[in-house]
C-alpha cells in the first residue's frame, strides 16, 4: 500500500516537524475537550431530544409552546 504509506508519512512527518503547531494542537484538544465533553455533555443537552422520543411528540410540544406563548 505505497499510497497509504505515503499519505501516512506525509502527516506523520508533518506533525513531527511542527514547532508552534504543537502548542496549537494542545490548545485545539483542550478546546475540543471543553466543548464536546464538558459543555455538550453537562450543559448543552438537546432540549427536545432529551424530553421526547419521537418527532411527533417534539412537534406537539413545539406547537403547544407556539400556541401558549401569545399574550
Amino acid at each position: 500500500m505505497p499510497v497509504f504509506r505515503k499519505v501516512f508519512n506525509f502527516y506523520y512527518e508533518g506533525f513531527r516537524n511542527m514547532t508552534v503547531g504543537k502548542t496549537l494542537w494542545i490548545i485545539i484538544f483542550i478546546k475540543l475537550f471543553i466543548f464536546f465533553i464538558i459543555l455538550k455533555l453537562f450543559f448543552f443537552h438537546d432540549f427536545l431530544g432529551s424530553k421526547f422520543k419521537s418527532d411527533k411528540d417534539k412537534s406537539d410540544y413545539v406547537i403547544e409552546q407556539l400556541l401558549t406563548k401569545p399574550k
Binding site: F10, Y11, E13, G14, F15, N17, V20, G21, T23, L24, W25, I27, I28, K31, L32, I34, F35, L39, K40, F43, F44, H45, D46, F47, L48, G49, D55, K58, S59, V62, I63, Q65, L66, L67, K69, P70, K71
Partner: protein, 509 residues
C-alpha cells in the same frame, strides 16, 4: 436586576457569535492574501516571497487553530436554548449546514495539511493550488452559514407545515440565491478581506517601526493595500446593495439605523449624530445634534433622491397613503394565524377535515405575519435604535478610514519611504483593533437591527427560546465568557510571539 430568560439567551448567543467572529474574518481574508503571495513566489521563483508567504501562513495557522470549532457552540445553543426556533426552521438550516460541514471537512482539512506540511513534499504548483483551495474552501464554508443567517432576515423558498410546526424547504435555489443571501455573503466575506488587509498592513508597519524585516513589511504592505483597496470598493458597493435590500425587506431596521422617525421624501442621511431620549412615545429617540446630507437616504434606499422613505412612525402606526399597514393590523393578522394553527390541530384530533382545510387557508393567508401574534404592543416591533444607529456609523466611518489607509499605504510604498513616516506607521498599527471593531459593529447593526425577530416577521426571540431556567443560561454565559476569553488571550499571545520572532531565516535578503 431582573433580566429575563430571553435577554440572557440573547446575550449568550451574542457573546458566542461576537467571539466566534473575532477569529473568522482573518481566516477568510488572510487565506487569499497568502495565496497571492505564494502565486508571486511560484511565478518569480524569488525565495523571499516564499519566506513572506510562510510567515503569514504561520499567523493564519495560529488564528485558524484557535478559532476552529468556536462556531460549533452556536449550534449547541440552537438545540438547547433555542429549541422552538430550531424545530421551526429545521429543514431550512439542515441542508446549508450539512453542506458546510462536508465542505469544511473535506476541502479545508485536506488542503490545509498540504499547505502546512507539503512545502518540500509536493510540487510548487500543487502546493499553490492547495493554498488557493484552502482560501476558496474557507470562504465557501462561510457561504452556507451566511445563507442560513440571510434566511432568518428574509425567509423565502419554504412552506410552513402546520402538522409538524416546521418550515419545509420548497426551493433550495431560492434559499441559496435569495438577493439577501448573495449580498450578505459578498458583504461579509469582503469585510473579512478588508480586516485581513488592515491586519497585514498594521503588522508590517510594526516591523517598520522596529526597523526590522523591512522587505517583508513593504512587500506585504503592497499586496495587502492593493487587495484591501479593491475589496473596500467592493465592500461599499455591497453595502449599498444592503441598504436597498433593507429598505425593501426590513424597513424598520433601516429606519432604526437612521433614527428616521417621520417618513419623508428626499430623506437625508445623518452623517454624524448624537441621540437623546424622547419620552413622548415608547422607544422614541430624538437628536441632540446631527449633520445631514439631503436626499442621500432616499437615494440609498430607492436610487431616487425624491423617493419616500418610511419612518418608524409610518411603519409602526401605518401610513395608508404610502400603502403601509400598521403593526397593530399585523398583530391582529398574526393572532389570526396562531388561532388558525390551534384550530387546525384541534380539527386534526377530531378528524374534522373541513375545519382543518378552513383553518389551513386562514393560516396560509396570514402566515407572513405569524410572529406579530406574539407582540404585546406595536412598539415591540421597533429594534433598539441606539445600538443600531451608532454601530452603523462606527462601521461606515472606519470603513472610510481603511480606504484612506490603503491609498496612503500604496502611495508611501511606491513614492516615499514608509519606514520614515512615523505617524502613518502608528496609525496603521492602531488600525488593527479598529478593523475588528468595524467588523463586529457590522454584525451588531445586522443583529440589533433585526430585533425582536429571530426569523423576520415569523418568530420573535420570545417565542423561540427554550423554557430553561434563567440560572442555567447565566451559568453557560459565564462559562463561555471565561473559555472564549482564554482562547482570545492564547490567540493574541501566540500570535504576538510569532510576530516578534518574525519570518524564519530572517526574512531579508
Amino acid at each position: 436586576m431582573d433580566v429575563s430568560l430571553v435577554d440572557w439567551s440573547r446575550a449568550q448567543f451574542a457573546l458566542t457569535a461576537i467571539y466566534h467572529w473575532l477569529f473568522v474574518p482573518l481566516t477568510l481574508g488572510l487565506s487569499f492574501i497568502i495565496a497571492f503571495m505564494e502565486s508571486i513566489y511560484v511565478k518569480t521563483g524569488d525565495e523571499e516571497w516564499k519566506k513572506i508567504t510562510k510567515f503569514w501562513m504561520t499567523l493564519f495557522g495560529v488564528n485558524f487553530a484557535i478559532g476552529v470549532a468556536t462556531g460549533i457552540i452556536l449550534e449547541f445553543e440552537f438545540g438547547t436554548n433555542w429549541s422552538n426556533y430550531s424545530w421551526f426552521v429545521g429543514d431550512i438550516f439542515g441542508a446549508p449546514l450539512a453542506v458546510e460541514g462536508i465542505m469544511a471537512f473535506f476541502m479545508e482539512s485536506t488542503f490545509i495539511a498540504v499547505m502546512f506540511f507539503g512545502w518540500n513534499k509536493v510540487s510548487k504548483k500543487f502546493h499553490l493550488v492547495s493554498t488557493w483551495l484552502v482560501a476558496a474552501g474557507a470562504n465557501l464554508s462561510a457561504l452556507w452559514i451566511l445563507v442560513a443567517n440571510a434566511w432568518m432576515q428574509y425567509p423565502t423558498g419554504m412552506h410552513f407545515n402546520p402538522e409538524t410546526a416546521r418550515n419545509e424547504m420548497l426551493n433550495f435555489w431560492e434559499v441559496l440565491f435569495s438577493p439577501v443571501a448573495i449580498n450578505k455573503f459578498l458583504h461579509t466575506v469582503t469585510s473579512g478581506f478588508v480586516l485581513s488587509s488592515v491586519f497585514v498592513v498594521g503588522i508590517s508597519a510594526w516591523y517598520l517601526l522596529r526597523k526590522r524585516n523591512q522587505m517583508l513589511a513593504k512587500r506585504s504592505m503592497l499586496i495587502a493595500s492593493v487587495f484591501g483597496f479593491v475589496m473596500s470598493l467592493f465592500l461599499i458597493l455591497t453595502g449599498d446593495g444592503s441598504a436597498r435590500l433593507l429598505a425593501r425587506h426590513q424597513p424598520l431596521k433601516f429606519a432604526a439605523m437612521e433614527n428616521l422617525y417621520e417618513g419623508q421624501s428626499n430623506a437625508p442621511l445623518v452623517a454624524v449624530g448624537i441621540l437623546k431620549n424622547d419620552n413622548t412615545e415608547p422607544k422614541k429617540k430624538d437628536f441632540l445634534m446631527k449633520l445631514e446630507i439631503p436626499g442621500v437616504l432616499s437615494f440609498m434606499a430607492f436610487q431616487n433622491f425624491d423617493a419616500y422613505v418610511p419612518g418608524i412612525r409610518d411603519l409602526v402606526h401605518g401610513n395608508p397613503e404610502q400603502g403601509i399597514i400598521s403593526v397593530n393590523e399585523k398583530i391582529a393578522k398574526g393572532k389570526l394565524a396562531i388561532e388558525a394553527l390551534k384550530e387546525y390541530k384541534e380539527a386534526g384530533k377530531t378528524g374534522d377535515t373541513a375545519k382543518a382545510d378552513s383553518a389551513s387557508a386562514v393560516l396560509n393567508s396570514n402566515f407572513k405575519y405569524f410572529g406579530y401574534g406574539y407582540l404585546e404592543k406595536p412598539q415591540d416591533a421597533i429594534p433598539p435604535i441606539g445600538p443600531a444607529f451608532y454601530s452603523f456609523r462606527i462601521m461606515v466611518a472606519l470603513g472610510m478610514w481603511f480606504v484612506l489607509l490603503f491609498i496612503l499605504t500604496v502611495f508611501f510604498v511606491f513614492f516615499r519611504k514608509p519606514e520614515k513616516i512615523k505617524w502613518y506607521l502608528y496609525l496603521s498599527v492602531l488600525s488593527i483593533p479598529l478593523a475588528y471593531l468595524a467588523s463586529e459593529t457590522g454584525w451588531l447593526v445586522a443583529e440589533f437591527g433585526r430585533q425582536p425577530w429571530v426569523i423576520q416577521d415569523l418568530m420573535p426571540a420570545s417565542a423561540a427560546v427554550s423554557r430553561l431556567t434563567t440560572g442555567s443560561v447565566q451559568t453557560t454565559f459565564i462559562l463561555f465568557a471565561v473559555t472564549f476569553t482564554l482562547l482570545l488571550i492564547a490567540d493574541i499571545k501566540i500570535m504576538s510571539k510569532q510576530i516578534k520572532i518574525g519570518p524564519k531565516d530572517g526574512g531579508e535578503k
